[in-house]
C-alpha cells in the first residue's frame, strides 16, 4: 500500500482509474445496493439527528391531546397518553438500530472466531458445531425469551440474548466459506511457497470470509430489529415507558381501531428499516461476488 503512494507513475494511475471504473460500474449495476444503502442511511440520520434537534421529550404526556391524528403540530399524531408519535418513532429507531447494530457486530465477531477455529481444528470443529446445532434447533425467539426471562428485561440483556441466538448461523457461514477457501489452489500454492499456517489463516482465509460475513451481518441486523420488536411486543424486550417500535405496537393494539396511525407508524418504520437492510444485503452479495457481472450471473 505504501508503495502505491510513493511511486505512482502515470501508467499506474491509469490502471487504478480503470479498476475504479470497473468497480463503479458494478456498483451502479446493482440498484438494490444503492436503494438499500440510501434508505438505511436516511433512517440512521433521522434516528441520530431528530432527537438531537427536537427537544420534545418522547415520554412527555399531554392527556388533553391524546389520540390526535397526524397534523402540522404532531407529524404522525399522538398515542393514548398524548405522546408525540413522530418523536417516539425516532427514539424507537435509536433503540432498534442500537440493538440491531450491536447484535450484528457482536454475533459477527463471535461467529467469525468460532467459525475460523472450527474450520481449522477438526476436534474443536465437532464440539463447536454440535453446540451450534443445539442452539439452532431451538426457535430463536423462544430462546431469546427464555434467556431474558432468566436475565431480566433491559436493552443489554436483549442484545446478549439475540447475540447468542444469531452467533451459530454466523459461525456456520464463516466455517463453510473458510473451508471452501482452504481447499483453493492458491492456499495450496501458498503452502508450497512456504507460508505459515497463521499467515494463511489471517492473510488469505479471513479476507475471503469477509464478504459473506458483511452480507450475513446486514441480514442479521434486519432480523435482530424484527426480533427486538417482537420481544418488546411480547413484553420481554425494552421495558416501557422507553420508546421502542415493539412496545409502541403493543400499546397500540387497544386503540388502533380508533387511531390506526398508532399502529401504522411504528409498523411502517420496522418494515422500511428491515426492507432497506435486506436490499442492502442482497446488493452487497451481488457486488462482492466476483462471478456476478453487471448485475447478472454469467
Amino acid at each position: 500500500m505504501n508503495l502505491r503512494k510513493r511511486k505512482t507513475s502515470a501508467l499506474n494511475q491509469a490502471i487504478f482509474r480503470e479498476q475504479r471504473e470497473i468497480r463503479k460500474e458494478r456498483l451502479l449495476a446493482s440498484p438494490a445496493l444503492i436503494i438499500g444503502a440510501v434508505g438505511f442511511l436516511i433512517i440512521l440520520l433521522l434516528a441520530v439527528f431528530v432527537p438531537l434537534l427536537n427537544p420534545t421529550d418522547p415520554n412527555a404526556m399531554e392527556v388533553a391531546n391524546r389520540l390526535q391524528p397526524p397534523s402540522g403540530k404532531y407529524l404522525l399524531g399522538t398515542d393514548e397518553f398524548g405522546r408525540d408519535l413522530f418523536v417516539r418513532v425516532m427514539y424507537g429507531a435509536r433503540v432498534s438500530l442500537w440493538v440491531g447494530g450491536c447484535v450484528a457486530v457482536f454475533s459477527c465477531i463471535l461467529g467469525t472466531i468460532v467459525g475460523v477455529y472450527a474450520s481449522y481444528f477438526k476436534v474443536l470443529d465437532q464440539i463447536l458445531m454440535r453446540i451450534c446445532d443445539g442452539l439452532i434447533a431451538i426457535p430463536g425467539i423462544l430462546l431469546a425469551i427464555a434467556l431474558i426471562a432468566a436475565l431480566g428485561t433491559s436493552s443489554w440483556n436483549v442484545i446478549l440474548a439475540l447475540t447468542i441466538v444469531y452467533t451459530p448461523s454466523v459461525a456456520r457461514t464463516v466455517r463453510a466459506s473458510a473451508m471452501v477457501i482452504r481447499e483453493q489452489a492458491y492456499v495450496e500454492a501458498a503452502k508450497v511457497q512456504g507460508f505459515g499456517n497463521l499467515r494463511i489463516l489471517w492473510r488469505m482465509i479471513l479476507p475471503g470470509v469477509i464478504s459473506p460475513l458483511t452480507v450475513q451481518a446486514s441480514f442479521i441486523f434486519a432480523q435482530a430489529i424484527i426480533s427486538e420488536a417482537s420481544l418488546s411486543f411480547l413484553g420481554a424486550g425494552i421495558p416501557a415507558p422507553a420508546a421502542s417500535w415493539g412496545n409502541m405496537l403493543e400499546a397500540s393494539k387497544l386503540v388502533f381501531s380508533k387511531a390506526p396511525w398508532t399502529m401504522i407508524c411504528p409498523g411502517a418504520a420496522v418494515i422500511l428499516c428491515v426492507m432497506s437492510l435486506n436490499l442492502l444485503g442482497d446488493g452487497l452479495r451481488d457486488f462482492l461476488d466476483p462471478r456476478v457481472k453487471g448485475g447478472q450471473k454469467k
Binding site: N12, I15, A185, Y186, A189, G194, F195, G196, P290
Partner: protein, 322 residues
C-alpha cells in the same frame, strides 16, 4: 553430475469406499503411486508422462510436500523429505517450488500481482520493501511480463500471461527444483510453445532442475532431457529422450506413441489402446499393464516385472524385453 533429488520406492495410497458409503463399507486402499523410483540430476529436465490417473500429479505433489507419502523416500540433498514435518520442510520451500496447471486459481484473487510476489519474498526474509519491489519487477521481466503488471489483479491478465505469472511466483525465490504439473495443458498451442521456450531458456540461464509432468507426449519430448513413462502408479520405461523415441521397448510406450496423431504418415500401423486402467489395490501383483497388453502371458499376471536396465540409461519393466 550429481543427483539433486532421488525418489526411492515412493508409495501413496488413498482410501476407497464401496457403494454403502463411508461408514458402512469396509475401508480399502488404492495405490495411486506404488514403488516408484527415479532421480533428477542437477540442471536436468525429467519428463513424467502417462495417461490421466496414473499418478503423475500425486508424485509431483508428494515431492513438494502437499501430500504425505505412505512409503518410500524422497531424498533431496541427503534429507528425506517424507520424514520432515511442516516446520522442518519450510527452509527447503525456498529450493523446491511448483508451477500449477491452473495458474489463475493458484493466485490469490484479492491481491495485486506486486503484492502476491512481494509477499513470497517477504516470508523468505527480504524485509526491505524497495528491494522487494525491484526483485518483483526483475522477475516479471524475466518471464516476459512488465512493470505495468505490478498493480494488476491476476484476473485482469490473459491465460498465457497468468501462466507466466505462475512461473514467476515459482522462480522468484530462486529454487533449485521446480515441479511443473501440466503447466501448459490449459493453453492453446501457440502460447504453449512460447511458454515452453521460455521455460527452457530460464532453466538454462538459472540452472534449475525441473520435473515436468504432462500427458502430452509432444510437449514432453520437446522439453525433457530424460523421460519416465508412468502407468498405474509405476514407471514402465525410462530413458533419455532420444533413446526413448528412437527405440521404445515397453508395449505401453509404443502404444502411447502410436496414439499421437501424425499429420504426415497416413497409412501407418495403429495399435489403439483398449480398455481402462484397473484400480491398483494394495495386493496388486503382476505387470501393471497386464490387462491391456497384446503380448501378455501367464507369467505377466503372476510375476511383477523388474524395472531393469537393458542398455545404458534405458530401463524397462517388461518380461518380454530382456
Amino acid at each position: 553430475m550429481s543427483h539433486l533429488i532421488e525418489i526411492n520406492g515412493l508409495k501413496k495410497t488413498f482410501p476407497v469406499y464401496g457403494k454403502t458409503g463411508k461408514i458402512f463399507s469396509q475401508k480399502e486402499y488404492m495405490c495411486a503411486v506404488d514403488n516408484l523410483s527415479f532421480y533428477i540430476e542437477e540442471g536436468e529436465t525429467y519428463g513424467l508422462v502417462g495417461e490421466s490417473g496414473c499418478g503423475k500429479s500425486t508424485t509431483g505433489r508428494a515431492i513438494v510436500g502437499l501430500t504425505k507419502a505412505d512409503g518410500g523416500s524422497i531424498l533431496y540433498k541427503g534429507k528425506d523429505l517424507c520424514k520432515l514435518n511442516d516446520k522442518q520442510f519450510r527452509p527447503l520451500r525456498k529450493e523446491i517450488q511448483m508451477v500449477f496447471q491452473n495458474a489463475l486459481s493458484a493466485l490469490n484473487p484479492r491481491r495485486r500481482i506486486g503484492d502476491i510476489l512481494g509477499e513470497i519474498l517477504e516470508i523468505h526474509g527480504m524485509k526491505d520493501a524497495d528491494e522487494r519491489r525491484e526483485q518483483v519487477i526483475e522477475t516479471l521481466k524475466k518471464v516476459g511480463l512488465s512493470e505495468e503488471h505490478y498493480f494488476r489483479f491476476p484476473h485482469e491478465l490473459s491465460g498465457g500471461q497468468v501462466q507466466r505469472l505462475g512461473i514467476a511466483s515459482a522462480l522468484i525465490i530462486g529454487p533449485r527444483l521446480i515441479v511443473c504439473d501440466e503447466p501448459v495443458s490449459a493453453l492453446d498451442v501457440s502460447i504453449q510453445a512460447q511458454i515452453l521456450n521460455m521455460l527452457i531458456e530460464l532453466q538454462k540461464e538459472l540452472r534449475i532442475s525441473m520435473l515436468f509432468i504432462s500427458h502430452d507426449i509432444g510437449v514432453i519430448r520437446f522439453i525433457s532431457d530424460r523421460i519416465g513413462v508412468m502407468y498405474l502408479g509405476t514407471l514402465t520405461e525410462e530413458a533419455s529422450t532420444e533413446t526413448l523415441f528412437a527405440n521404445p521397448l515397453h508395449p505401453y510406450t509404443k502404444m502411447l506413441f502410436d496414439a499421437v496423431p501424425d499429420p504426415y504418415i497416413t497409412n501407418r500401423e495403429f495399435h489403439a489402446l483398449t480398455g481402462e486402467q484397473p484400480v491398483r489395490t494394495q495386493a496388486f501383483q503382476g505387470c501393471a499393464f497386464y490387462n491391456r497388453c497384446p503380448y501378455a502371458s501367464d507369467r505377466c499376471k503372476i510375476e511383477t516385472p523388474e524395472f531393469k536396465e537393458v542398455e545404458s540409461g534405458h530401463k524397462v519393466a517388461c518380461h518380454m524385453v530382456s
